[in-house]
Amino acid sequence: MKKLVINAMLLTSIVALSACSGAPKKIDSLEKARTAYNKASNKEIVAKHAASELDDARSSLSHADKIWRNDGKVRHINHYAYIASQKVQIAELIAQRKEDDATARGIVATLGDVLFDSGKARLKESSMGNIQKVANFMTSYPERSAVVEGHTDSMGDDDFNYDLRITTRNLGESVPVADNNTREGRQQNRRVEVIFPDLGHQISELSE
């Protein structure tokens, strides 16, 4: 009985040993790169915005994997696994940047009635801080254009200054956002919208 147990143990270790020699020993850097790649490829924004970068990462990973399966030098496996890991991170960062850029483009800053007194087109002193913030944003990103839309209530008309980089659209009373029959509604309708359009779609947007 005792002998049988020992035999069984021996058999188990032989099986375990042969399993080990069947595939090369796992390498940390490669496993980490694989995990990172799988995680990134499951992220929707990475697939959407950084498909080619993810492809690059995959080809480095396959290269590392191939060397590993052929029992190649650990130094080489580590090298390509490192390249793959870095490329995965690059893909994630690029995806995040593109997502943020899309968000920024979609932002419509509505500068409300606080900017103006009724019947006046001159900006109030108190609104300068906010205007300055928009200006700072545009100075930091000179490649980004802005559309400044000025709206009035139905009682009046207004104008807005413009610069080479800024396109102004005077929409007058054509696009109200509230009831022009009440004082509160008219207040909401007197507004300026600053839009940062998608660079690619800018022309069609302006030629409306």
């Binding site: 090298h79 490192y82 390249i83 870095q86 490329k87 991170q89 690059i90 960062l93 690029i94 995040q96 940047r97 943020d100 850029d101 968000t103 920024a104 932002i107 800053a109 509505t110 500068l111 409300g112 009635d113 606080v114 108190s126 801080g129 906010n130 913030k133 928009v134 700072n136 944003f137 930091s140 990103y141 940062f196």
Partner: protein, 123 residues
């Protein structure tokens, strides 16, 4: 006679191995690529937004240059490939950070405007 054959084999094998080492070409392309990747990273503001990644890339670039001087071209190739990918990461990180800050800045100013609107509506 048997021993002699064995010795011959060893000599042949080692000369092949040596030949393989010395025949590795100088990694001109990889070095040029990592140089331009470093330049791009700096232009993107990596000094400010990704200093750690940039430093890592520069260190590897320096090590690659030393390896080239020692004619260790195999190691120089790996080092400059890693320097390039580190520099690309530094660039991507810088650009992501700038975009994140841009969104935050616009959102902050909109929040401020909203607060002021509410305040004026309550007056």
């Amino acid at each position: 006679m048997v021993i002699k054959k064995w010795k011959l084999c060893l000599i042949a094998a080692s000369s092949i191995a040596l030949g393989a080492c010395s025949s590795a070409p100088k990694p001109e392309t990889e070095i040029a690529l990592s140089n331009s990747a470093l330049e791009n990273a700096e232009v993107a503001g990596a000094q400010k937004y990704a200093p750690i990644e940039l430093r890592k890339a520069k260190e590897k670039q320096g090590q690659a240059d030393l390896a080239v001087a020692d004619e260790k071209y195999d190691s120089a190739k790996h080092l400059s490939e890693q320097a390039a990918v580190d520099a690309e990461l530094a660039k991507a990180k810088s650009e992501a950070e700038k975009s994140r800050l841009a969104v935050k800045e616009v959102e902050d100013s909109i929040d401020l405007i909203r607060t002021e609107l509410k305040r004026s509506a309550n007056q």
